[in-house]
């Protein structure tokens, strides 16, 4: 079965600093999702990546899927307290990405100090 490993597990940064969160898969990624979760709440969709080398940005958040499609990174520029939360990567569990079931990493807890 596919496993996703996220690093770091937790991260504390000063407001205004840049940061990167990584998601590494044991298998080829056919659809990679990034979500943000506030404690005890639902998941907020950030981005989905499918093609090797693909990069997407939304406001100050950029995500990239590497060419080999086994690792994705999420980069936040000039972090703000509103960026604090748990960042989860999720991936299609089966090749071809046609089954829609997602396997998730354990998450990265981000704290942004003002």
């Amino acid at each position: 079965s596919q496993e996703l490993e996220q690093s770091p597990q937790s991260l504390i940064v000063q407001e205004g600093k840049n940061l990167t969160i990584n998601c590494t898969s044991s298998k080829t990624l056919y659809g990679l999702y990034w979500y943000k979760q506030k404690y005890g709440e639902g998941l907020i969709f950030l981005m989905m990546l499918q093609k090797g080398g693909e990069e997407k940005s939304h406001e100050k958040i950029t995500a990239k899927l590497d060419e080999k499609k086994q690792q994705s990174s999420l980069h936040i520029t000039a972090s703000q307290p509103s960026h604090a939360g748990i960042y989860l990567c999720g991936a299609d569990a089966y090749s071809g990405g046609s089954n829609y079931k997602l396997t998730f990493g354990k998450g990265t807890l981000l704290t942004v100090n003002p």
Binding site: Y33, G42, L43, F45, M48, Y100, K101, L102
Partner: protein, 111 residues
């Protein structure tokens, strides 16, 4: 995108009772999913709910414990039956509309 609502948002229940969680989507979708997030853990898929057919359960989850209904293309329910404290989790529904969106979750505490 899809807008998903869940009821209740949270509940505290007694051991041995059952709770039904509702999931409503603002558009018709073929597949809906139910996930569980235990304290400090990531999400685990419970089952896939298709309209007009029985839900498909993942390994470790059974219909007697987590019966699911899918009466139409915008609605589904998940029942957590005969609850124990180990069932304390956040339960989330999701839909795939090209991208997968999640509901706000139901936070369940079993005493």
């Amino acid at each position: 995108s899809a807008v998903i609502s869940q009821k209740p948002s949270r509940d505290i229940c007694q051991r041995g009772t059952s709770l039904t969680i509702q999931c409503q989507v603002d558009s018709q979708v073929t597949m809906m999913f139910w996930y569980r997030q235990q304290p400090g853990q990531s999400l685990t898929l419970i089952a896939t709910a298709n309209q007009g057919s029985e839900a498909t359960y993942e390994s470790g989850f059974v219909i007697d414990k987590f019966p699911i209904s899918r009466p139409n293309l915008t609605f589904s329910t998940l029942t957590v039956s005969n609850m124990s404290p180990e069932d304390s989790s956040i339960y989330l529904c999701s839909v795939d509309v090209g991208e997968q969106f999640f509901g706000p979750g139901t936070r369940l505490t079993v005493l």
